[in-house]
């Protein structure tokens, strides 16, 4: 099935409104956006439905959108049996980021969600082992947030090297 057909099919199966976005024609995939409270239900349908059969969570990532006050979570799905792909998104509040975990649906989500928790600070409820994965456990802050400021040092190791910052321009003028 094509993504637009998958969206129409999924809309029939769920009573929640699923927003559709075509995206850019030449690059990237179209995507569907669903409210955070229908996130797990929608994902469960995509996996268990015989027509959709998304048996593989290809990637699960997050994006910080400070202008909207939201953090976006993006799931790229792939079906080995049906040979089709789909992109499903949801948004959570930036100040109180809580989202239900997908680990019960796709075990592959365990590390993906740990990564999102580490870098963006979303609290995945129902996750079996929600720890940081990239950064040390006692790190402060979530580095991929747009308003993140790095701590000056970590256990005595300075986080910046003197003299280098001036050698590389922060922004290159267009």
């Amino acid at each position: 099935m094509k993504p637009v057909e998958i969206h129409a099919y999924l809309q029939q199966k769920l009573d929640k409104q699923i927003e559709w976005n075509e995206g850019e024609k030449s690059t990237g995939d179209p995507w569907a956006v669903i409210e955070a409270d229908g996130w797990v239900d929608a994902c469960l349908v995509t996996r268990d439905d015989d027509q959709l059969a998304f048996d593989f969570l290809r990637s699960l990532t997050g994006t910080d959108r400070p202008d909207d006050g939201k953090i976006e979570v993006v799931a790229h799905l792939w079906s080995y049996s049906r040979r089709h792909a789909f992109v499903l998104k949801t948004t959570v509040d930036r100040d109180a980021p809580v989202l239900a975990s997908l680990t019960s649906i796709w075990p592959a989500a365990v590390w993906y969600e740990r990564e999102i928790y580490d870098l963006l600070g979303i609290d995945f409820s129902g996750h079996p082992d929600l720890r940081r994965i990239m950064m040390p456990n006692d790190w402060v802050g979530h580095p991929l947030r747009k308003d993140y400021t790095e701590q000056a040092d970590y256990r005595g190791i300075p986080t910046s090297r003197p003299g280098y910052a001036t050698a590389v321009p922060e922004k290159v003028d267009e």
């Binding site: 990239m134 950064m135 040390p136 790190w139 580095p143 991929l144 993140y148 790095e150 970590y154 256990r155 005595g156 190791i157 300075p158 986080t159 910046s160 090297r161 280098y164 590389v168």
Partner: protein
């Protein structure tokens, strides 16, 4: 080099200090820890391989820090890894040396602006030799190891052990990690 004072058909007689003799032995059994944190470790393996053959200088890899003399920081170091590297370094017995191999281990390199990468191994370990390159060729690494050999050659550590030289505190004091 130790001067030869008398030549004979079998070779000769050389005269030198015990320090010099010991250092000669020490510098030709420079064992490095087989440990890599990123892609530089591939070049490190190549250095031990038959083409470059660091073995001919007495440089062998050891799989445990307790038998190693040199810690090679081969690759990008993350904050999470830094405490593990520190643990390895602390397990090595004195005298011990550290080589920062490649631009990442020297300064953070390509990942200078990253949130998770330590901006140089010298921020938490006393580094003796820096090898530039991304990654350095095996020849460069052998040269770096030979610089350590030259350093060992000049060390008056026996004199120091006997109290002939005042104990100086290392200015490159290792940091807490």
């Amino acid at each position: 080099m130790t001067p030869i004072i008398e030549k004979s058909p079998d070779g000769g007689i050389a005269l030198g200090s015990v320090d010099r003799l010991l250092n000669l032995a020490r510098k030709h059994s420079l064992w490095y820890l087989l440990f890599g944190t990123a892609c530089c470790a591939i070049e490190l393996m190549q250095t031990g391989g038959p083409r470059t053959d660091a073995d001919r200088f007495g440089m062998m890899f050891r799989s445990t820090p307790r038998q190693a003399d040199v810690l090679l920081l081969a690759g990008t170091i993350t904050y999470k890894m830094a405490s593990r590297i520190r643990l390895l370094y602390d397990q090595m017995s004195e005298p011990k040396y550290v080589i920062a191999m490649g631009s990442c281990a020297s300064t953070g390199g390509l990942f200078q602006k990253s949130y998770s990468v330590v901006k140089g191994g010298d921020l938490f370990l006393p580094v003796d030799v820096y090898i530039p390159g991304c990654p350095p060729r095996p020849e460069s690494l052998v040269e770096g190891l030979m610089l350590i050999q030259h350093k060992i050659e000049k060390e008056p550590w026996l004199k120091k052990a006997w109290g002939k030289l005042p104990e100086k505190s290392d200015p490159r004091l290792p940091r807490e990690c």
